[in-house]
């Protein structure tokens, strides 16, 4: 069974057939995209095993600390392939996101050896790395005896890969030559527009292409649809309010969180340009945002769009992706568009969130753990997850090049592939890497809340925020 299909995939893996020819051949043999993915994964795993001693750590076990997430589901669904390949066992604890990072902090700060690897965001590694809780993964990446020759590290999207690397110097450029690879990208999110096409059509509004248009479009689409608010963005008193749409738009205007003068950091969010941007953002929320915006996390932003309570969101693209499926009332009715807030900008500059994997420094067997890490972040699992599960957005160029994956997206998620392709070159972390990241962003969110509630004027609020940040930076010896 499937012998002809296996031959075709084998030829592709040996480089004897190009991708389009493979797709045509499999289509001709009547293979569905899902089956093709499974076969490809199976064959690719076997091919990998031929080039590398995957059984070196046979009989060993790795324990993971995981967040409840579709990426986790995709990995668990494919775990039998890893176990077959390596003879290793994998156990894991999964926690909901509300408590996940508390659990990670507690496990790492107590130097517990219970977990060998865990899921993290790149921002968190700005604490974990300098604290000495995680390893520099370059040590394994650069060791050909420990990393399989087909791992293809350069296949990772450059902006994403570099965003996970920092030299540990406050204000140091991400991905610099001396940077330490604190975590390995797994899946990532760009921040762009997901909109309800029917609501826009009903109100006769076209999709906005810059911030001024977004303000107008949000107000118009809200006026044209009963019981619907114009635009969903996050607003809770948390660092997570700043990093998605807000910072993506902010960076598009060339504005920064901090300035770096020869290693001395200073607050930079009270410039004239920043004040103008904040004024527009605050006005947009006041006029067309959710009435309970100040309690909105990604969850409320997403569910309101999925339930047809909001007309668009400027948030994680994958949030729109998930709201366009499942049991959501608006499933199948959402569309996607890239968004450059600054009319003078040539392309979007999305700030990104990267779900990554990192090895704990307190793991008892880092070499064995690395076997899991390279498999989970490898091209085969990436393709399996993207084509058969909801492992989006992939961090590997090869997966984005997959016709099977692109066709799957084009079929059900109109505009998604184009949105990604247009934004990917400018997608990276736009924050300054430094130890006070969470202090800065949480206080920034609290200030934004006060501005939206008219408790403080925008320019005064930003001056107060900058003053507070500067004093904290001075106190921490960073200014």
């Amino acid at each position: 069974m499937y012998e002809k299909e296996k031959d075709a995939i084998g030829a592709f893996l040996r480089g004897e057939m190009d991708r389009r020819a493979l797709i045509r051949r499999l289509g001709g043999l009547g293979v569905t995209a899902a089956s093709a993915g499974t076969l490809y994964n199976m064959m690719a795993t076997s091919a990998l095993a031929a080039d590398f001693d995957w059984q070196k750590h046979k009989g060993k076990s790795v324990k993971l600390l995981l967040n409840k997430h579709p990426y986790t589901d995709a990995m668990i669904a494919n775990l039998p392939a890893f176990k077959d390949l390596t003879g290793m066992d994998v156990s894991y604890d999964i926690f909901p996101e509300d408590v996940y990072f508390d659990k990670v902090t507690a496990a790492l700060s107590s130097r517990s050896s219970e977990y060998d690897a865990f899921m993290t965001g790149a921002y968190m590694t700005w604490t974990y790395g300098p604290a000495g809780w995680i390893v520099d993964h370059n040590e394994w990446l650069s060791d050909s005896s420990k990393t399989n020759p087909n791992y293809n590290w350069d296949d990772m999207l450059e902006g994403v890969r570099k965003s996970c690397a920092w030299n540990g110097v406050p204000g140091g450029e991400l991905g610099s030559a001396d940077a330490k690879q604190w975590c390995i990208p797994w899946g990532y999110e760009q921040n762009n527009l997901t909109f309800n096409a029917a609501m826009f059509e009903k109100a006769g509004v076209k999709v906005p292409t810059n911030l001024d248009e977004m303000l107008e479009a949000a107000a118009a689409v809200q006026a044209g649809n009963d019981g619907v608010y114009g635009v969903g963005v996050r607003g809770s008193r948390s660092w997570a309010t700043i990093h998605p749409g807000f910072l993506s738009a902010y960076a598009n205007f060339g504005e920064a969180d901090l300035s770096n003068d020869g290693g001395k950091l200073s607050a930079a969010m009270n410039t004239a340009g920043s004040k103008e941007f904040h004024s527009k953002w605050v006005k947009m929320i006041q006029e067309s945002g959710a009435s309970d915006w100040s309690t909105h996390t990604w969850y409320q932003v997403g569910t309101d769009l999925g339930a047809g309570k909001s007309a668009m969101i400027f948030d994680a693209d994958i949030l729109g992706y998930f709201m366009n499926g499942g049991e959501n009332a608006m499933a199948g009715q959402l569309a996607f568009a890239p968004f450059a807030a600054n009319p003078a900008a040539s392309a979007p500059t999305p700030n990104i969130w990267i779900w990554s994997l990192a090895m704990s420094k307190f793991s008892k067997d880092l070499d064995a753990t690395w076997y899991f890490m390279q498999w989970a972040s490898g091209p085969e699992h990436g393709l399996f997850g993207a084509t058969e599960m909801d492992f989006v957005n992939p961090v590997r160029k090869s997966v984005w090049d997959s016709d099977v994956f692109r066709e799957r997206l084009n079929k059900n998620y109109p505009g998604y592939v184009e949105m990604h392709d247009v934004s990917a070159p400018g997608a990276s972390i736009k924050f300054t890497a430094q130890p006070l990241f969470f202090d800065l962003t949480t206080e920034w969110a609290a200030t934004l809340q006060r501005m939206v509630a008219n408790e403080v004027p925008v320019d005064e609020g930003l001056d107060q925020l900058a003053e507070s940040m500067n004093s904290q930076l001075t106190e921490a010896g960073l200014r």
Partner: protein, 304 residues
């Protein structure tokens, strides 16, 4: 047989060691409390941020001195005290009123008093999430009621004007039954003679309440208020689940601030110092209450 067992037990633990063995569990609990307490004092005297291990060092009380000029700290102190004061007073008044209504022993009253305990069985964080749903502007029933009575744009926890009111409302819903049950037990245990004498003399009900019921109930009121005050000044779950301390810094109470300082900013020094200030406030408040409680007891004894 029994004699043999007893003798064997005597041999296992000598009479001289027995008191120490019996007090061992209590000693271990004390150690379990004292070690983190002393560690917290030690950390609070340090400049200690886990993301900057190279900066760690003793700064001998600088964290505390900085609080004097830190507007965030004074805001935290103010919000914590206002929250604790408001919830305790309101819950006391409501609890007392309900207890007075249910004072008479009857099947219906007993049934109602048991039913009213239901909110106490709800975890405060869950109660907060429940209220968060009920105040949702799209489908929340409380938001709907507000619209019906003419408050079209009442924003509950998401507006700085009403956030404190909203979390106090949740606190009242959860903890008023606690006040009610303690005061009801107090009311029902009061001696009946003074009330009978007052009734014979034709003393009006209101006068009876002010002159007899309230003074005799005072030890119970103080006990209930003390428990609630100590709990309320340490409020975390309702506020964090509802607004994470926002909007702005509206609800930034001690525990929320200390939690964010530790788990998000990994600023161990400041977090520990905040919690020790909270400990000091708790200590002072409980001392005031206990002293008053003892004074009342002395007076009651003297009166008798």
């Amino acid at each position: 047989m029994t004699d043999t067992l007893t003798t064997r037990r005597r041999q296992l633990i000598s009479p001289r060691a027995l008191p120490y063995v019996l007090s061992l569990p209590a000693l271990l609990v004390c150690i379990g409390i004292l070690i983190p307490f002393v560690t917290a004092i030690y950390y609070s005297l340090q400049r200690y941020r886990m993301s900057q291990p190279w900066n760690r060092g003793m700064n001998w009380g600088e964290n505390y001195v900085k609080f004097l000029t830190d507007s965030d700290f004074w805001n935290t102190l103010k919000v914590s005290l206002v929250y604790a004061g408001s919830t305790v007073v309101l819950e006391l008044l409501l609890g007392l009123a309900i207890a007075l209504l249910l004072k008479k022993r009857s099947t219906v009253n007993n049934f109602i008093s048991i039913m009213l305990l239901l909110p106490l069985m709800t975890a405060p964080a869950l109660a907060a999430l429940m209220f968060k749903l009920m105040t949702n502007p799209n489908f929340g029933i409380l938001s709907y009621f507000m619209q019906v009575i003419g408050f079209e744009d009442f924003r509950w926890g998401s507006s700085p004007d009403t956030a404190l009111f909203t979390v106090i409302l949740v606190d009242i819903w959860v903890y008023t039954p606690f006040m009610m049950i303690l005061l009801l037990a107090g009311l029902r245990s009061l001696p009946t003679q003074p009330f009978e004498a007052a009734a014979l003399d034709g003393v009006p009900q209101l006068e009876q309440f002010w002159r007899i019921t309230l003074p005799m109930l005072m030890p119970y009121i103080l006990t209930a208020a003390l428990f609630r005050l100590l709990d309320s000044i340490q409020q975390f779950d309702i506020i964090y689940a509802m607004t994470q301390g926002g909007p702005g810094d509206t609800l930034m109470v001690f525990q929320v601030e200390a939690y964010l300082n530790f788990f998000q900013s990994t600023n161990v020094g400041r977090s520990a110092a905040l919690l020790l200030i909270l400990w000091a406030i708790t200590y002072v408040l409980s001392n005031i209450f206990v002293k008053n409680w003892l004074r009342l007891r002395e007076r009651a004894k003297g009166g008798a």
